[in-house]
């Protein structure tokens, strides 16, 4: 991920998963924001202009696709990674259609997450 410290917005309705990813990313030198529903995610993105958004697909109040679309609209330089437990080809299609830079099916390893982030940032550069 280079030496750049990123502000990363993590969105998932599973608080324990968000906490785990946050700890991992903070260890790598980044700072993390958390949201547990789509509405809050969109709000935080607008307020805080994160460098990267990692969001689950299934969320209360606006799903991950909506979050992806809104973030891409408001912050064109911010890549979005979509994570999901619904691992189907159509989901990947929908993810990229909404503007996601990368798609990560659950369960994923933290190494996978890191690779996905590198990939998403490279695409945006």
């Amino acid at each position: 991920m280079g030496s750049r410290s990123l502000k990363i917005l993590l969105v998932d309705d599973e608080p324990e998963l968000v906490a785990t990813c946050a700890r991992f990313l903070e260890r790598l030198g980044h700072s993390c924001l958390s949201a547990y529903d789509g509405a809050r995610a969109i709000e935080l993105a607008a307020q805080q202009s994160p460098d990267l958004v990692v969001t689950d697909l299934q969320l209360p109040e606006h799903d991950g696709l909506e979050v992806t679309r809104r973030v891409r609209e408001a912050l064109p330089r911010t890549p979005v990674i979509l994570i999901t437990a619904y691992n189907r080809p159509t989901t990947a299609e929908a993810a990229f259609g909404a503007g996601a830079s990368a798609y990560l099916p659950k369960p994923f390893s933290l190494a996978d997450l890191r690779r996905a982030i590198d990939f998403a940032l490279a695409r945006m550069a």
């Binding site: 599973e14 324990e16 659950k106 390893s109």
Partner: protein, 357 residues
């Protein structure tokens, strides 16, 4: 004579029996489905067409019928078994017509239909419905399992990636607790899914609602106390039992209590009550909470498979509960308004009514 022609050609089995239960006449369809030759059945007691173990019961039934005879279907809802000449059995539906004052006295005409195929079709339809549900449930289950598994996987990875000198006992303990909790959640989802696919025959016995409540509270009581939930029990005494499988019905009650707990994370009150329902012969067991209540749009969907309003909910509990209650010939209802808690009621037939349910 047209009636004779009808009798001979009828596609259901027709058997004419006299007041003593003796077969006066049987039509060709009867010989066919029971495996007898022409004329063999005339003069035989009707009980020869009934499995031995059921003959006494059948005789009593017949005698009771003669006391107040009227045309009616026999034992709707009861499984009736018939016996062929070779001793094999098959399921049937029987209807009886009373024909008094004939040349041969007061007669009963029994019409018998072999329902083997229909029962098989019904069973297949039920199974197909379960498989379809299972198919879509499988996708939902996979999704539900992926969430706790993600946490287990990534949290363990995090720990493994932590240099030993940075691993504090407190960190280890907290992380292990998270991993443990998520693994338990995953295994709960698996066992609920297994419950979904179980076809096994269930035990059926007369059960007292009060015993079901006692057992459920034995299992849930501690958890509810810890959650700050006061339990109020108001069980009417002298209620008839219900016929059913204690384990399944307890499961339903536990599901309702568990949902009430989840609805009131900061404590509250749960009231369990049993009483006769306004419908005669029916009993009502209700679980009421004073939590936030259920939104109107959720009320319609709350029993749907995989519908859940809980983060981390499986969407199986109420669907399974409804299925179990329906298998017991009962109904499950919910009444709720936002801000006014929720009441879930189980309606079950009392045992005097079970045969007609």
């Amino acid at each position: 004579m047209p009636y004779e022609a009808y009798f001979r050609a009828a596609s259901e089995s027709l058997i004419i029996v006299d007041g003593n239960g003796c077969i006066v006449e049987a039509n060709p369809k009867t010989w066919q489905i029971f495996g007898y030759a022409k004329g063999e059945l005339v003069g035989q007691p009707i009980e020869v067409l009934v499995p031995e173990r059921l003959r006494e019961q059948h005789r009593k039934h017949r005698e009771a019928f003669m006391v107040s005879p009227r045309s009616r279907p026999m034992g709707i809802g009861m499984s009736l078994a018939a016996r062929r000449k070779d001793g094999t059995e098959f399921p049937v539906e029987v209807s009886l017509t009373y024909a008094p004052g004939t040349k041969r006295g007061d007669l009963i005409v029994a019409s018998v239909i072999d329902i083997t195929e229909r029962l098989a079709l019904e069973r297949d339809a039920r199974r197909a419905e379960t498989l379809t549900s299972l198919g879509s449930a499988a996708a939902g289950i996979a999704h539900d399992l992926n969430n706790p598994l993600s946490v287990v996987l990534s949290r363990a990875e995090l720990l493994l990636g932590t240099p030993e000198d940075a691993l504090s006992p407190q960190m280890l303990r907290e992380d292990l607790e998270v991993i443990h909790r998520q693994a338990e959640r995953a295994s709960r989802i698996v066992s609920e899914f297994l419950e979904l696919s179980r076809h096994g025959p269930k035990a059926t016995a007369p059960l007292q609602l009060s015993d079901l409540v006692d057992k459920a509270l034995l299992l849930m009581g501690e958890q509810m106390r810890k959650a700050g939930i006061a339990v109020n029990v108001a069980l009417q005494s002298g209620l008839p039992p219900v016929m059913g499988d204690a384990v399944s019905l307890e499961r339903v009650l536990i599901n309702l209590l568990s949902n009430a707990c989840d609805a009131m994370p900061r404590g509250g009150e749960v009231r369990i009550a049993s009483a006769r329902d306004s419908r005669p012969g029916w009993l009502r067991l209700s679980v009421a909470d004073n939590g936030p209540g259920i939104q109107p749009h959720a009320l319609d969907r709350i029993f749907d498979l995989l519908y859940t309003t809980k983060a981390g909910g499986s969407g199986l509990g109420l669907w399974l509960s409804r299925r179990i209650v329906q298998e017991h010939k009962g109904k499950i209802e919910v009444q709720s308004e936002p801000g006014k808690g929720a009441v879930f009621s189980l309606l079950l037939p009392g045992v005097e009514n079970a045969a007609e349910a």
